[in-house]
Subunit: 418 residues, 4 copies
Amino acid sequence: MDFSPSPRAADLTERVRAFLAEEVEPVEPQYHAGLAAARARGESWTPLPVLEELKAKARERGLWNLFLPKEHAGEYAARFGTDGGEGLTNVDYAPIAELTGRSAIAPLVLNCNAPDTGNMEVLLRYGSEQQRKDWLEPLLDGKIRSAFTMTEPFVASSDATNMEATAVVDGDEVVINGRKWWSTGVGHPDCKIFVFMGLTDPDADRHRRHSMVLVPRDTPGVKIERLLDTMGIHDEPLGHGEVSFTDVRVPVSNIISGPGEAFAIAQGRLGPGRVHHCMRLIGLAELALEMACKRGLERTAFGKPIINLGGNRERIADARIAIDSARLLVLNTAWKLDVGGPINALSEVSQIKVAVPNMAQQVIDMAMQIHGGGGLSSDFPLAAAWTGARALRLADGPDEVHRGVVARLELGKYGAKR
Amino acid sequence: MDFSPSPRAADLTERVRAFLAEEVEPVEPQYHAGLAAARARGESWTPLPVLEELKAKARERGLWNLFLPKEHAGEYAARFGTDGGEGLTNVDYAPIAELTGRSAIAPLVLNCNAPDTGNMEVLLRYGSEQQRKDWLEPLLDGKIRSAFTMTEPFVASSDATNMEATAVVDGDEVVINGRKWWSTGVGHPDCKIFVFMGLTDPDADRHRRHSMVLVPRDTPGVKIERLLDTMGIHDEPLGHGEVSFTDVRVPVSNIISGPGEAFAIAQGRLGPGRVHHCMRLIGLAELALEMACKRGLERTAFGKPIINLGGNRERIADARIAIDSARLLVLNTAWKLDVGGPINALSEVSQIKVAVPNMAQQVIDMAMQIHGGGGLSSDFPLAAAWTGARALRLADGPDEVHRGVVARLELGKYGAKR
Amino acid sequence: MDFSPSPRAADLTERVRAFLAEEVEPVEPQYHAGLAAARARGESWTPLPVLEELKAKARERGLWNLFLPKEHAGEYAARFGTDGGEGLTNVDYAPIAELTGRSAIAPLVLNCNAPDTGNMEVLLRYGSEQQRKDWLEPLLDGKIRSAFTMTEPFVASSDATNMEATAVVDGDEVVINGRKWWSTGVGHPDCKIFVFMGLTDPDADRHRRHSMVLVPRDTPGVKIERLLDTMGIHDEPLGHGEVSFTDVRVPVSNIISGPGEAFAIAQGRLGPGRVHHCMRLIGLAELALEMACKRGLERTAFGKPIINLGGNRERIADARIAIDSARLLVLNTAWKLDVGGPINALSEVSQIKVAVPNMAQQVIDMAMQIHGGGGLSSDFPLAAAWTGARALRLADGPDEVHRGVVARLELGKYGAKR
Amino acid sequence: MDFSPSPRAADLTERVRAFLAEEVEPVEPQYHAGLAAARARGESWTPLPVLEELKAKARERGLWNLFLPKEHAGEYAARFGTDGGEGLTNVDYAPIAELTGRSAIAPLVLNCNAPDTGNMEVLLRYGSEQQRKDWLEPLLDGKIRSAFTMTEPFVASSDATNMEATAVVDGDEVVINGRKWWSTGVGHPDCKIFVFMGLTDPDADRHRRHSMVLVPRDTPGVKIERLLDTMGIHDEPLGHGEVSFTDVRVPVSNIISGPGEAFAIAQGRLGPGRVHHCMRLIGLAELALEMACKRGLERTAFGKPIINLGGNRERIADARIAIDSARLLVLNTAWKLDVGGPINALSEVSQIKVAVPNMAQQVIDMAMQIHGGGGLSSDFPLAAAWTGARALRLADGPDEVHRGVVARLELGKYGAKR
């Protein structure tokens, strides 16, 4: 159980920290002001130019595609990775993900944001040579973006076998039909490729029925119906889309890893992605705690700094304990993934998916309360942080489903079949 | 301890229920769609015409100004009240407030929304004849709206003595300076009058230093700086404003109840207002529970209705228990206000202010979770309901301050001074 | 919804309060010391003489069998009740039960303790004339005690249909076999009669299979196997027994209300009994809160009364809110029982069974914490109070089963079958 | 951040696991039955002979004094330690402590129980040569036991400066007066030495006023007033005593590390001791979870294994998450102690002292609930486990004080003085 990053990773972490402090944090207030102004003009879906400037600076500093996984990065690490070096382990990358979580734009700037990282991993592990050339390389290059279209509006998508969308092989084409929502990234004008999941063979084994298909956004029959808000927040420039697919036809070669492989791919995709999500949330929770401490010490009421009123100091302590526990749980998961792969960390990946968003939601709620009315407003990043944490109690599977996985594995130790 | 409404109140409650079912609920989906469209055009601050139509219908049915308090309504009940009858007790009005809480627009439509009800009560109890004629009557008539400007951005407003705004008497004028925020109602074009609270005499007794002043919105020096959002939601058509007052001058006769009376007025204003807020939240929580039950029974996953998965049924039970407990606590508070006035219910008013928003936040969070991604979106009223409940953990005093009041009164039984 | 006691009940409540203050509280320390000394000598199952003295005093003051239910007390109220008057409603009796809950011995002293009250109610409602003469009258007279033997050690008794014990009719006798535990009252030397529940007809309808039988303790084949402890506490002088029944034969006329009636009887028995349990727990929680306030104000640490350290004052506030909410929930249940009987209050009875013991456990835990090490010891009544509250999360059905009942009734509103 | 034990420690852990499985677990049921029988005879303070037999076996297997700390064990490791090898780091010892926590007697059997381990550490680090020869050696040899007398009945001992006991130097003697309680170990007949803490110089600096003095139990003036129970449990054979010291005189050379050094010693003593306590509690929580899984799968109700009813599976998942998080938090604390000593882990030591007992209390409560009435009885180790966890929320400082430490260190990062 060794959670120490390699020396190279430790160095990269420090360089990310410096980059965020020097280049990103100073421009964030203007970024948010600019976005608010654009929103008031109805133009918030055009990314602000500063994002591309920051991307160029990050790349220049060799802080690019840091998410690239050690075991699969291969030649791409040399061509698109950082310093031309190899990819990082999950334990190595975790503290970097935590740092980027503190900023609403850092993941984008470092080309390390969801869902692009997950989609790039899928292509890296399962993509054909042509698929990688067409889509992985421009993604690694930061030239295009992608979406993952899985969740559906009319069924409980926590059970993926409920899925109504279809991807039917017809000769050398796949015919795609269905409606998806919560497809993150769809709002970005550079979002050029969708990873679509649908039913191919209803008669196959339960987990061999579905396929993942690469669907270019401009294929006829693909329609962005609308962009959803999460608790009033649109998460520009990526956004979350509702997308309909009507008799969409793409070549059979667009299926990733062949028909019926969607569940196998999803399984492999989710472990590291959840570690990333959780580490970013831990970064957000740390930011919230830091803000709570500072605000609580600055403002006074009834003759004292408000941090000294009532149970506020105990709340600070509880937040510290909760964050540190959660971080260790994620590091342990990262380490188990590194040493034994996804099968070695099934319970752990589900454990962090439950524990971390709940922890973050609670810590951020506390920080909001310390900030008074301001904490609810867009003057502070807390409201958006809270929304992000809350949404992650549903995204990638609701808490209840993950608790079910943990329980099944635990009870399995004593012979329970299910 | 008798929480039964009078027969007249029971009849009014049923008539409100019918009105909401027949007139309001059917148009709410269009209302929200219309508002979303207006928002996309940047025109969401112009109230949709349906609101005035519904107001006319409500008045026609005699469901107007139901909040008018029995003990102060006097002649106004006859002129502007319901059926020409008298005002209602807090116990009588509570179930009506609960019903209106289920709808985002019902309180407006019945002329029973915060902060206008509180401001009308202030004028009813403490306003001069002229003040009542100028402002109370048009408010009761639904012709204008009002705001209450108390909270300030640069100090912890949970301690009202922190207030930096000033209301200095200068001959027969009052000179007003300061900056306020979270002034609800400021976004509405009919919002014509502000109740401003500021420091008048720094040398007076701690609770005799501040005054409440009627400041017409169009007085020179008054500036709406911006409209704030709460967790991304703007609460049109009322909205929450940040307002600056720079050397604003109004006649001394605009002071309500005379200089130095602000704390005395605030004390009287808040009891019923908190009962109203809490009952409306209970209505929202009931709505959320109802939605959770229905959705949980309709959608299936893993071969079962999702309500039968994991701990979901226990969550339904816990929600029922929590709502019923909270309602009884509020009814008890209403009853104590009715039989003994605000002094009789100091602890109870603070108790419900803590208990009810926390309960509602939790019940709504549960319902959101049962709704999956939809629960986070504006497709359902849950996200806005959650935001409303969360905001009420700060509005009218944060939880922590109210817990402090309850503790002080409890420990006072054993001789504690403070 | 009127929770006010009748004038007679209000007067009785005040007389109970005075009796407890004048006669019971002053002797309780000696009682507990005497019991501890007896325990050290292995003689704690002989009731201390002071109990009979206090019973005589209570009866003299007309504070005897106050639990007698208005709708069933009939002639017994005149012969064994208080003042020769009629029985009380549930709303009337609730505040009296709350007061008796503050003392470990008051319920015994007033002849109002579980399980005797429940057994007396069963005989009152369902007993034959002979059964009432033989067992109800001496119980009302305080001459004997009784036990209710239902729970079994080898099956999950939360599902009563799991029951393995049998009560088979054989001619004019019933043959009884089985093993029961947690039979409260068995430790008392005056415990002369057991209400036994067992399977009579496995082929009958699910809820018509079991019978309740009166089994005198000295019937051959009845054996007290041992007295159980609850968290190390034996609850002398009643105690909780494990009892075996081996080919025990009693006349068929000992069956209450006839074979197969056990479930029907249990249903009627449990509503008021749960109200009593819950009100007593509320009394305990009030006592714990009172002790926490006093101790917290008396003891100092780090230069302040400990009640002013950290979040302690907020804990006092939360306890006050929790107790008041719980009391109102129980009063509402009592009122619903009074106006519509058990069927009218199915959900409410299960609601309080979940809410109140959990609330009490939490409030008492808080008070223990304020008392430091002392709070864990027998020097204070808190440890025993905690154990009582904890045990009631299982006794009369575990929380989870009651949450299931509440959920079933809630979901039934929307058409769910189960 | 490397939490892996050394190969030797990993081997010792496996050997402890085997010893417990082969020698301790099989005799525990008889041990508890024997103890219960002895208790019924009033003879429970005479240790059952099996304890000494097991101690001999443990020593024979080289599983003795495993707690000996690497950095201080020195020659004693060779003479009294395991295999003649050196002491273990905190990270090394942690998994061993976890294993011993599953058994009520294992810590005693391995000579690794509190408070003896803490007292031995004090002597090891701060004792004079003579003190070590007289008391440390027989303790390491398992021939005698010891107690730590610090907490006082009449003051809030969470603030150690409240202490009323005195240790006044008078020539070449120290005169000791005061009353202590919760002195663990006092009930054991082999308990020969007390580490007493008292006020020596009221005029010295706040943390230089108190001394620790070795007081042999048979010194005139020392009186065991009584043995306390914790929630009805006496924790034989060690027990928790109330002890009075009246004009007790011992040589000045009995002061450990000289007058005024008590706080300095206490600081050093507590870090590892809290890690041990917490790891043992984690062992208990694991045992409780294991029991809950097994019982929940075995027993059925309403046609299903009870683990599949309501939210039970989610509770299993939550318990797994809570235990794993807590273990990682303790391992991290152990590691910080190993690499930087107590000053490096001030916040962490307080964090685990809050987090672990609360976690264990909750997990054990859940397991009790799954066990129904049995869970409350002495038939299962759960009731005693719960009591142990609950007591540790007060022992070694209440939660609230430790939250205060964590908050102070956290706020100190932003310049807060206190």
